[in-house]
Every structure is written in structure tokens, then in C-alpha cells.
Symmetry: C2
Subunit: 297 residues, 2 copies
């Protein structure tokens, strides 16, 4: 069977079922990051890998520094979504033999810029030849205080669902210039009890069901409330993907304080309540009309 | 300038110069692994990333389980070369949309087999579409007791150079079935003072100058002493690459005991003294006649 007919989530689930358990694994496959630590450790380690492929996540004509920025910031966004801070990155680059050194320097300029901005040390990597498209893979470690570690699975029926920023329109260029919501996630986890959180990478329509399913809930959203980037339809806001905004769930009685304090702390970034988790599970067919990004579809 | 005219080492050096320093970085770019830890920590963390690309490191016709085995074992070999033990892996796979699920299952069967064999937990990963060749990237963490951590840079003039196993002939298939020398490296670092070590991935002719340079030494080897796989010429033993044997340096007065105890402990795996580190630095033109593998050449 071709993987395209299965879809990404089913492929990952089939491949990762019954993997050998590692030592000290708090959380393995299936969340934004893996979480490693001992039950008594005050600080846990986060591990994340992510890749960008020419012709899929970027086009050759695009400025290499923006590609480097994107490659590292995607992984930073996942560390943020767990409530953590990024620490050390390893960069794997496979490119054609006839690539110009200037292109690689540009790529690394973007990687360095993102590393400096978010406090990441680039400590190693690997270069290889590619007979086809350029391929950049980032492995990123992070740390999170145990008390601040947020998964996708802690939501409860009745929790309010929030989205930071505005969604949609990533293909117009925003996907190369986004800012991972690291400061916002650290502030949220430091000041509130965030019950579940993830970053929106495949579009709200694909990612919200994942959070709801991990939390053992269903969900309801008001499509007209979804914060949209200028010129975007609801369908684009739900399905374009690569927003790298935060989606999180909190108890309803925390909502008023979060909304007020958010406005004071991040006056330029909207925080929008888009719906709530509800009783029952996510049924396979329950997706908003507008499907999110599926790598294999 | 095209990267092919610079060569891999020069490309990596140019790209990684002046990277932002991270916190707690004992060793960054330039050894088999990055080493992370505090000065007082008894155990340090190791980080490694490595990739295999279709058409470069494997061909499409090859059995996917052997490709998976190779992908993880390459990184295990680097952890071993630092004296450490592997812990947790993240797997990134980019494949064409029309890849058969059976191929991916085969790949993961090989990854699982290697993970079980070497005590690795596969805790996450990433799947993406590739418009070209298949690409598998492995990020692997490890741990090493501070006292057992061995770099490439601790050798001194006069140290004897040893190689485990036999070299050459990887292209005949061995490159898909090799065994990383994890047990051997742990035994060596647990029982002897190994001054410098690395794994031979690009061929002795390319890797030995790297160890010598990192140790501030030159080197002399006896080409006729190099242990060769059956049917291999000296040139193949020096240059084929993908041996994944250990190359290490020890003080001459430790040699007799290492050789005797090795024979008792690993009677089926040869250990061969191939030469010594010498005074002076490695000159750019000083390479054995038979060059090792350069990804961009």
C-alpha cells in the first residue's frame, strides 16, 4: 500500500507502535517533543527533530538565510510548545555537489541568527551530498522544569481553547519569517496552569484534533472567531499550516485573568478564544471541513 | 565557488566558524560527538546526528531493514568512539509519496533491531515528503562518564596507533551490516587510558589526519600492516570508508597489556598497531596516496 493513501498520522502510528522502551522516557513518540528524565529530576530534557526539504518546505529561489531561520525556528517552536527552553542544536545538511558556497553560508547565517535570538548553541552536524533536492534537518535539545512541562494530553472537557496570533497565509511568505512563541509560552507556563498545548504546524484543522484526541476529548470551535491573517479565508486559516502559533487549553475559571494579563504583557499579539474541549472522543471523520496539511496526502 | 572544489572539511570549517557558544558545551563541532555538561558533572551528555541518502549511502534496491540498521548504527559508532553509551534516538525520514508502506516498515524493522541490540530508545521523529531520493537522518543522544570521555585531540607524539577489525571493501555490502564497536570501546575506556579515539567512517586515509591534526601531531603508518578485509588492496583499505572500526592512540608503555588483554577478551576481532603519532603538525598535502571519502569531492 502506498503511504499517500494512508496519511501521515496513520503512517507514523504504524511505524512507531511497540518501539523498544528507552530508559527514563517520560514521553516518547506523539507529542511536540520527547521528554526524558527521572521521576525525581526537577528539570527534564526535551528532544526534537525536524526537517525542511527543497520543493516541499521551501523553493530554491528563496533566500538561503530565510530557509536557515525557518529550519531552526520550527524546532524552537516545538520546544516552546512543551513549555521549555531550547539548548543545543545539531544541523544536518545534504546538498548537491554543485551548490555554491555562498548559498550554504547564507543558510548558516539564518541558522546563526535564529540560534542567537533564542539562546541555542549549534554544537555539531553533518554534511552530505544529495543527488536531488537540498535537505536540512535540525535536532534540538531543550530543558523544561518538571512543573512547567505541558503536553497535548492534559486537557479536560470544558477547557477553553486559545490560539495566539493570526492564522493562515503562510504560503505568501510568512512561513519563512515567523517568530516561534517561546517568550509567550514561557510566560504562560510560568504564570498559569496550562493544561494542554501544542504549536500549530499543519494547520488548526489538522492539529486541534490531535490535541483533543491526546486529551481524550472532542472539541467545538467557532469558525468565525478564528483569528485570520489579512486576506485569508476561514479555509486558509484552518488549513494552510505553518502558522507556528500556540494552541492551548485552560480551565474556564482561569480565562478572565489570562486574557487580561496577556493584553498587558503582549499588547501587539492577539490571544483568541476559539472554542472548547468537549466530552467524547474525536471521531475519525470529525474534522473541520477544511483539512490541515498532510505530508503524504 | 562550488562546494565540490573546496572539500568537506573546508566547507564544515567555514560554516561552523564563530558559531554562538552554547551553555555547558564541553566540546562542539569537530569531533565524533558534541559533549555537553557542567565542569562538576560526573556524567556528560553526547549528541550526534548522521544521515543516509538514497543514491549516496544506499541504493533503492537494497533491503530496507539493512538501510535502517545502517542509519542507526552509524550514529551508535560515533557515540562509541567517544567512550559513551547511546541512549535516545530521533528518526527523520523523507520519502516520496509513492513509497510502499512495506518499505517503511522494513526500514523501521532495521532501526528497531539496532535499537534493541544497542540499548537505544527511539523516542520520536519526523516524517516528510521528498520530491527526490529517500533521506534518513538520525539524531542520537548518549552518556559518558567524564573520566571515560575520549576525544580526537588527546594524542601525543610517540603514542601508538591501533585499528580494530579489518578495513576496506565496504561497498561489497559490509557497509549495510557492520557492527559498531560499542562493547570494544567501552572495554577500552573502562580498562585503559585511551588518549585519542575516533571511528573510521571516511577511510583511514581521511580520518587519521583528522585525529593527528586534532592532537597537534603528525603521524607515520606502515601501509603493509594495515589490516585488510579479504580481497582488498591497501588502497581500498585506506580509502573505501564506511569501515566503522575504531582508530585510537595509547602511550607506548600501555601497548603490551592492551594487546594481550584484547586477545583474551575479543579473540575473534583483530587489534592491529598500524603506526604512531609523531612530532609536528599535519601538512595539508600530507595524505597517504590513497585519499579517503570526501562527500563533496
Amino acid at each position: 500500500m502506498k503511504i499517500a493513501s494512508l496519511g501521515e498520522d496513520a503512517v507514523v502510528a504504524a511505524l512507531t507502535r511497540g518501539l523498544p522502551p528507552g530508559t527514563n522516557v517520560i514521553l516518547g513518540v506523539g507529542d511536540d517533543c520527547a521528554v526524558i528524565g527521572g521521576a525525581r529530576d526537577r528539570v527534564w530534557h526535551l528532544l526534537k527533530t525536524d526537517c525542511v526539504v527543497e520543493g516541499v518546505h521551501f523553493e530554491k529561489k528563496e533566500e538561503p538565510a530565510r530557509i536557515g531561520w525557518k529550519a531552526l525556528c520550527r524546532a524552537v517552536s516545538d520546544i516552546a510548545a512543551m513549555g521549555g527552553v531550547p539548548r543545543h542544536a545539531l544541523i544536518t545538511v545534504a546538498v548537491a555537489r554543485d551548490v555554491e558556497m555562498a548559498w550554504l553560508r547564507g543558510l548558516y547565517a539564518g541558522l546563526r541568527k535564529a540560534a542567537r535570538r533564542f539562546g541555542v548553541g549549534i554544537v555539531g552536524g553533518e554534511t552530505s551530498r544529495s543527488p536531488g533536492p537540498a535537505f536540512i534537518s535540525v535536532a534540538l535539545t531543550g530543558e523544561v522544569e518538571r512543573a512547567r512541562c505541558v503536553t497535548r494530553g492534559g486537557g479536560r472537557a470544558g477547557d477553553f481553547l486559545y490560539v495566539t496570533g493570526r492564522l493562515g497565509g503562510s504560503l505568501a511568505g510568512k512561513h519563512l519569517d515567523f517568530t516561534p512563541r517561546l517568550a509567550e509560552a514561557r510566560w504562560l507556563t510560568g504564570n498559569f496552569r496550562i493544561r494542554a498545548m501544542m504549536d500549530i504546524s499543519d494547520g488548526l484543522a489538522a492539529d486541534l484534533p490531535r490535541l483533543a484526541r491526546a486529551s481524550g476529548c472532542s472539541f467545538g470551535i467557532s469558525e468565525e472567531k478564528i483569528p485570520r491573517n489579512r486576506g485569508c479565508s476561514v479555509a486558509q486559516a484552518l488549513g494552510d499550516g505553518e502558522d507556528f502559533e500556540l494552541l492551548f487549553a485552560v480551565r474556564p475559571d482561569a480565562a478572565a485573568r489570562i486574557e487580561a494579563e496577556w493584553r498587558a504583557k503582549f499588547p501587539r499579539l492577539p490571544l483568541t478564544r476559539v472554542g472548547a474541549l468537549t466530552r467524547g472522543g474525536v471521531r475519525a471523520e470529525q474534522k473541520p471541513k477544511h483539512c490541515g496539511f498532510d505530508h503524504f496526502a
